[in-house]
């Protein structure tokens, strides 16, 4: 049943292989960006260019604004009342705050993985195809193909292929987080945002997700918030260090961890604070 691909399927053309090929890689540019929760300023004059098909890590002590910046990329912060911003964020050169940009369409181009896995109370299958269902996709073949492709991409397919129609809630924490990643990439977004995706997992599950992230960067532009400097150094190409709402330093990961320019960065990565 899940293998019944139809040859005439229009989706087939864009993804003939088992891996996910986003339509176009993209990059994110943050320009003089300030962000406010009510009157409280959480981000100060952030300037940052995130390259495509690389893993960019955000590090810094808790409360420094990593999640706030990440959640601006898909405008999730707008769910919170009384927020405001100044400056701009562009994806592919287009401002995400442009009035012509539809927030729903923007979010469909950007997958997001949360700190706590958040499976919906439905079957594994329905979880993965949720982003397609809400666009009105009904073709069984397309849905089946998406499930298989997405679950294979997160290396979960073999573990769950016989129980796709059972509730997702019986999986282990690590499996659930991989399921959520599968769901986040099911509609073939360009960018994958991850906010401390491993912080609720044990080391083995964490290692699996880290492996997966390195694998996924072939196809996605990945931005990951992490509180673990080991994780940042293991999986990221670029690292941004934030402190008190300011971007202190942004560079190649190995440079940040071996020869940081700023004193604050050095203090942080050597564990002198935070």
């Amino acid at each position: 049943m899940p293998n019944s691909f139809s040859p005439s399927d229009p989706h087939q053309a864009t993804s003939s292989s088992a891996t996910l090929v986003p339509l176009e890689p993209s990059f994110i540019e943050v320009k003089e960006f300030d962000f406010f929760y009510g009157k409280k300023q959480a981000l100060f004059d952030i300037n940052l260019e995130i390259p495509d098909r690389q893993v960019t890590a955000f590090i810094g002590p808790s409360g420094c604004g990593k999640s706030t910046l990440l959640r601006n990329f898909n405008r999730m912060n707008e769910l919170i009342p009384n927020v405001s911003h100044a400056g701009d964020i562009t994806i592919h050169g287009t401002s995400i705050f442009d009035p012509s940009v539809e927030i729903i369409a923007l979010r469909r181009r950007i997958g997001m993985v949360f700190q706590k896995s958040n499976p919906f109370p439905m079957s594994l299958y329905e979880n993965v195809v949720y982003p397609l269902r809400i666009t009105g996709q009904r073709q069984r073949a397309v849905l089946d193909e998406t499930v298989e492709r997405s679950l294979k991409a997160v290396v979960l397919w073999d573990e769950v292929k016989d129980r796709l129609h059972e509730s997702a809630l019986g999986l282990s924490g690590g499996q659930l987080q991989r399921l959520c990643i599968a769901r986040a990439i099911a509609s073939q977004p360009e960018i994958l945002l991850m906010d401390e995706p491993c912080s609720a997992l044990d080391p083995i599950a964490t290692a699996k997700i880290e492996e997966l992230i390195v694998e996924l960067k072939k196809d996605f532009t990945i931005v990951i918030v992490t509180h673990s400097m080991h994780q940042a150094s293991r999986i990221s190409d670029l690292t941004a260090f934030f402190y008190l709402g300011k971007l202190i330093e942004f560079d190649q990961t190995n440079k940040i961890f071996t020869a940081p320019i700023q004193k604050q960065t050095e203090d942080y990565i050597t564990g002198r604070f935070g």
Binding site: M76, I104, R107, G111, N118, F120, M122, I134, L201
Partner: protein, 328 residues
């Protein structure tokens, strides 16, 4: 081992009652006297319930002996011939409560959705919540009066028109009396609305924020999120709300007794007078004697059993809801 995912810590801790008595004793080693007093109070409540059941059962016994279980399916209620059966009242109890539930559930759910999501500023939402909870504080007799002065005249005015056109459908059969199944059901609807709204709202609010965000982040609209994620998540709590609302409607007495028309014949027509077990008790007890008292006690026993079962089921569903949030 990978650890299981956990959501809602608040619900978790709320469920964390001390598992054994020694836990409590460990926290408060010196308050033995207080513990004994509390224990006695608890025993007294259970004892009172037991005594009440015993009293009702023993008073009902002659009627149980005389009529057996056929009491439930017999339709005559003739004190002058000492013939008693409560079939019309059982039907009336169930139908009036069911109609109230069918009307109050969609309405209550809509209000619950409105109050749990951020459609409105939270100050307005809190004010609305307060007003709805206030509905529960209005005395039953006031609802009854309101029904007599507002609902009954409306039914008298429009009921005949409706039964004139659709009278062939059993539920619209005329003639339209003011005091009727419909009048009682409409007032019951209002009376169970706070129960259904507040339990459903609690269930919706308890849906973890990460699930809402997860849905929005995938590009879902607010309504898609409500229908595909929030309502399914809260489904069990909503079912519990419906069951408890139904239980509340079944036991409701004063307003129903004032509005239902106290007919001893069973009916499916909304416009005909009907009766419920509780209204029967309220209307007849003062002048009852002899076997009639026993028959009324039998009816009371029946009502208690019905409401206890319904409430028990509702509470169990609610309990299960709270547990399941911790583990999925």
């Amino acid at each position: 081992m990978e650890q299981r995912a956990e959501y809602n810590c608040e619900l978790r801790t709320a469920n964390c009652e001390p598992t054994s008595r020694s836990d409590v004793a460990g926290c408060f080693p010196r308050i033995d006297l207080l513990r004994i007093a509390c224990f006695l109070a608890a025993v007294m409540i259970v004892a009172t319930l037991g005594l009440m059941l015993y009293e009702i059962l023993s008073k009902a016994w002659p009627a149980i002996n005389t009529f057996g279980w056929r009491f439930i399916i017999r339709s005559e209620w003739q004190p002058n011939r000492d013939l008693y059966g409560v079939f019309p009242m059982v039907i009336g109890t169930l139908t009036s409560s069911l109609i109230a539930l069918l009307l109050a559930l969609p309405l209550g759910l809509a209000i619950a959705i409105f109050l749990s999501e951020n459609f409105l500023p939270s100050s307005v939402r809190n004010a609305m919540r307060f007003i709805i909870d206030l509905l529960a504080a209005i005395p039953s007799v006031v609802y009854g009066l309101w029904g007599i002065f507002v609902i009954v005249p409306l039914i008298q005015k429009y009921g005949d028109m409706i039964s004139h056109h659709w009278g062939s459908i059993p539920i619209f059969k005329g003639p339209a009396y003011g005091n009727s199944l419909l009048a009682a059901s409409l007032v019951l609807t209002l009376m169970v609305l706070p129960t259904i709204t507040s339990i459903s709202r609690a269930a919706l609010v308890a849906v973890p924020m990460v699930l809402r965000e997860g849905s929005y982040a995938l590009g879902a609209t607010r309504w898609e999120t409500i229908f595909h994620v929030l309502l399914p998540c809260a489904a069990q709590g909503i079912v519990a709300a419906a069951i408890l609302g139904f239980g509340r409607a079944m036991g409701e007495t004063m307003a129903v007794a004032m509005l239902i028309g106290n007919s001893q014949r069973w009916t499916l027509s909304l416009f005909s007078p009907s009766n419920t077990l509780s209204a029967l008790l309220a209307n007849q007890f003062a002048e009852a004697d002899g076997l009639q008292i026993n028959a009324l006690m039998y009816a009371a026993l029946l009502l208690i059993v019905m409401t206890l079962v319904i409430n028990l089921v509702g509470e169990l569903v609610l309990k299960k809801t709270q547990k399941s949030f911790g583990s999925h």
